[in-house]
Symmetry: C2
Subunit: 321 residues, 2 copies
């Protein structure tokens, strides 16, 4: 098997990890415990990885700044996950109880706010451009979440609606992480845009695959219960494509449009979607977007870091967790 | 009647208001509506006022920067109020339904996060010192909220515990707003510290009076139901002093320690606290702290702005809403 995509930045990712743990420490033991509970669950660290690789692929040498900005991005991302889980009434996150289920809702809201503040603090020392773009991304996430809620249980949602929601909710912060890396390297606008475009695309591909796992994933592997998106009425690409199926589409739509579908209806919808070509179509779309992402890296010189970015794009569309 | 404390900054406060409304606007109509719902309720604007007065009292001339930072502070403050109301299960805020009661819990969490991001964005262009101090204050608020939750329904809470909680939860952001104004004016450390110390003290005095209004306030005037803090088991100075009363203290403590007191028990506790010298003692403490605040302004030269700060301190301890 080839080396993992992150091999060339593994040591730096460990520094990101150490910095995050140092930064979140406060005078309150329970707050520390909660922040560690969230951060120690070993997410995929896509955002810091993209910040580091964006920096290195653009020729940056001193990793101290991208390590800092990458840690900030991951902290902000985790802050949003805490609040997302509350909003989605999710039970599990990465195979463990969601924070607000393990502690309380009110403490979790505060812990999320606290992590936001710490994340912004960590990027506060960076350039104006970076601070602005991170905050823009955070504001886009808010707006994206709102757009998503507008389409909940709405059978008329289209692929374009979905892609717009995902752009705000997921892709913008991922794009921002990579772009910040490129900006910190001192790269020209063309290179910064190339890296940003790449990251936005793989952010979208990442979310599409994530959403297919809600239909075909193994809870033991993904750490999330299957069918949750249908239960919550979240507009995802597998559901959208499923609802377009000539044979099963109507029934899938009927269940999706129910405000509180019963568990057996959710299972029925999942099974029907699996019978359609939805998952295949989703994978094809994700693959195509990942290829576009890889193509957009052309302005960058060849390097092991550029190769790592390509490997990351391929990993993202082939993952099963 | 003498002029109101804010007369000399009234026009600038209107600019703060306009800037806030411009900054919060996003592409999502419902998000706009929710942000306006919160910001248009005409809070007391203590934070921007202190930012402006701190700047002017230290000799600052160009108000564009303190207007921006003051608007950011007020936006961040409102973000925390949205989340606080969810945490406290509050029904009303400034005489209207709390945001999460008017809209949904999940949309309100997102709207709070969005306002945080916008607030940080607005200060992002300021100096490193200012960004750092705002984020420190935001982190302190998180830690303060945690400390408060630790003392909920705990009869052993002391005046010192209370003052420590209030310092983090309320006073730090108020202190920060004033200090930022002073820093922006280019004042010396002594003047910046004087203004910061002043604001911290009146922040504490403000909270003490706010907490007395939970016991003796008129819901029609304060816009908040009486007795909510006791119902939630929040450690406040009126309750702490009430529990120290030789005659009624034991019963007040008994009710305060109940996880879910009945409404008639809450009313009983309120009536018992009113019979003790608690409110009188609270007012005396607030008065003393406000006097300390005023005294700490001595290093500043006399000016109408310094006078305004003193008038604000006096207003805060005499207010009934």
């Amino acid at each position: 098997m080839a080396e993992a995509w992150y091999t060339c930045i593994q040591e730096d990712l460990e520094k990101v990890e150490g910095l995050m743990m140092d930064e979140i420490r406060s005078g309150n033991p329970e707050l520390n415990e909660m922040c560690e509970y969230v951060l120690r669950t070993q997410g995929k660290r896509i955002r810091p990885s993209l910040c580091l690789l964006g920096y290195l692929a653009c020729g940056g040498k001193d990793l101290s700044k991208p390590i800092k900005v990458g840690a900030a991005m991951e902290i902000i991302h985790n802050a949003t996950l805490i609040h997302d889980d509350i909003n989605d009434e999710a039970e599990l996150r990465r195979g463990r109880k969601a924070l607000y289920k393990e502690y309380s809702l009110s403490k979790s809201i505060v812990a999320g706010d606290y992590l936001f503040a710490i994340g912004f603090q960590l990027i506060g020392s960076s350039s104006r451009t970076i601070v602005d773009s991170v905050v823009d991304a955070a504001a886009s996430m808010g707006a994206g979440e709102f757009n998503q809620q507008e389409y909940e249980h709405k059978g008329q949602v289209s692929e374009e609606d979905y892609l717009r929601i995902v752009d705000g909710k997921t892709a913008k912060l991922i794009e921002c992480a990579a772009k910040c890396g490129a900006v910190l390297s001192g790269a020209e606008v063309e290179a910064v845009d190339a890296v940003g475009h790449f990251a936005n695309k793989i952010g979208v591909a990442f979310q599409i695959i994530d959403d297919t796992l809600d239909v075909i994933g193994d809870e033991q592997i993904t750490g999330k219960p299957v069918g949750n998106d249908i239960l919550e009425g979240k507009p995802t690409l597998p559901t959208i494509f499923g609802m377009q199926d000539p044979e099963h589409g109507a029934r899938i739509r009927e269940i999706f449009e129910k405000d509180s579908p019963a568990m057996d209806e959710v299972c029925e919808a999942i099974n029907l979607i699996r019978k359609t070509d939805s998952i295949e179509r989703c994978r094809a779309v994700a693959r195509e977007i990942a290829n576009e992402a890889i193509f957009s890296l052309s302005p960058l010189p060849e390097s092991e870091y550029k190769q790592s970015l390509k490997d990351l794009a391929n990993y993202i569309v082939s993952r099963d967790r």
